[in-house]
Symmetry: C2
Subunit: 257 residues, 2 copies
DNA sequence: CATCCATGGATCATTATTTGATCCTATAGT
DNA sequence: ACTATAGGATCAAATAATGATCCATGGATG
């Protein structure tokens, strides 16, 4: 562990629960010598990453972090973070993978990686996904503020195919299952012959900001592929959140019914 | 400069304008040896403060910063940051200093440091300050979204004293002056015999989130004290912003008229 | 009130890490 | 094919980090 790494490792002891540390206290926790710890803290303080309360002599995270975090954030919009991850999922599954983001217009597809297979599902960029009829939508609803999910349950649910969930009770069940398992499945709810698995991308508050889905022709679906897609999609969604926010948000499931 | 400080100094080269650096490029800019720069970057990368794009090999700020910044933010609400600064101003001026924050209820006084003088201005905590009649309010308006300021100009302006600015044109002028100079003055606009100087506390977007004001009996007011209070209040407002956000926001003046 | 113990901070010979000249390889431009 | 520049690796020499030890201060505790 280099000196620099040691110094930075100290920063990670500062959390919401323990936002302040005394010198000895921190040295003990980090298992560094007290003198070493102090030198590291002083260096961090000179750089603005740490501040010392002049009265209590305790150490806290510094204001310098805020500027840096902002630069990072402005350089990393959802798309930029998500596209490489989507590509990985597309490569791993060789099925069409698409990302959607919830905004004013609803749940909009913002990026698609198409399968290389001849028989594949095509998804148009910019397409608005009905929340009740797609795996993406249900995954999103399952991790939305309860009010949003409930209000959707009361809406008139358009039937796009014979399989679209139009009975509130059925949709309710699907949302509950998605909330419980962390992913949703859609079987011909929007287009005939399409099977998909989706997982929510969580924002810092634990609510979904969008979703990521793998879509395949129903004919190709097997238990094994389903299982693989679930893993891939959930992993990808988590990876995106983590890269966007630096940590995995705690999920907040919608309480329907 | 310690190794740790060198490493962290590298972080500061990453800005909104230049959010990515190549190794050699950065080494040149920072005036470190290329090998040194690389080792530092690797250490930072291992700690999550830097990430390297696997394809382009360029370096960017890492996701680890986000968590840290959030801890810092949650630990530093306005009050906690501002109170020590207010206290300094109070000590320096020996006049009553008060801080107000704009929220749903309007501009509310959230902290007061009273002068030790017998003849002093008293301000109640929790008091709601009329925007058009107080130095704090005008300083706030001058750095608000233009729409807010304009809509206020159209409202019926209550007269609290004979000196309250009730003519839109006069208020308009006061706002313009405050926008130009970065501080406002209030002379008996709310209470007779009170003179105050206020400066806006800017949020990251450059708009005011509140203000800080020094209030004194008009009788004690001289050119010299006014000048000192202006300096003190402006400095304090800037210090608070800087401590809250890690940098001084660029002011955004309201365009009235 | 004296004592004790833990705290933050300073010192400095010893030790281990950082440093940077140099080399290697890959890639892009001429 | 040649050149320039990139990122990255190496290792003896230089330097900075280390930690045992000491000091001063400030609560506790008897």
């Amino acid at each position: 562990m280099s000196t620099v790494e040691k110094a930075i490792s100290l920063l990670n002891f500062f959390t919401e629960d323990t936002p302040e540390w005394g010198l000895s206290e921190l040295a003990r926790q980090a298992q560094f010598d007290k003198a070493t710890t102090r030198r590291l803290l002083v260096a961090l303080a000179n750089s603005g990453l740490i501040e010392q309360h002049t009265v209590t002599r305790r150490y806290q995270l510094g204001a310098g972090l805020l500027r840096l975090a902002r630069v990072r954030e402005s350089h990393f919009p959802l798309l930029q973070v998500a596209v490489p991850v989507l590509r990985d999922v597309a490569t791993a599954t060789d099925e069409t993978v698409h990302l959607s983001e919830f905004g004013a217009r609803g749940l909009v597809t913002v990026h698609v990686e198409e399968s290389t297979k001849a028989n594949r599902v095509s998804v148009a960029n910019g397409q608005i996904l009905p929340l009740h009829a797609t795996a993406s939508g249900i995954a999103f609803l399952a991790f939305s503020p309860s009010q949003l999910a409930k209000s959707y349950l009361r809406k008139s649910l358009t039937a796009f195919t014979r399989h679209t969930l139009v009975q509130p009770a059925r949709l309710d069940d699907a949302i509950k299952a998605a909330a419980e398992h962390g992913y949703s499945r859609g079987e011909q709810g929007y287009e005939d012959g399409v099977f998909s698995i989706a997982a929510p991308i969580l924002g810092l508050d634990g609510y979904a900001i969008g979703s990521i889905a793998v879509a395949m022709p129903l004919s190709r679906n097997t238990k094994a592929t389903t299982e693989r897609h679930i893993q891939a999609v959930r992993g990808a969604a988590q990876a995106i959140s983590t890269r966007l926010f630096g940590e995995q948000p705690t999920p907040r499931q919608a309480r329907v019914a």
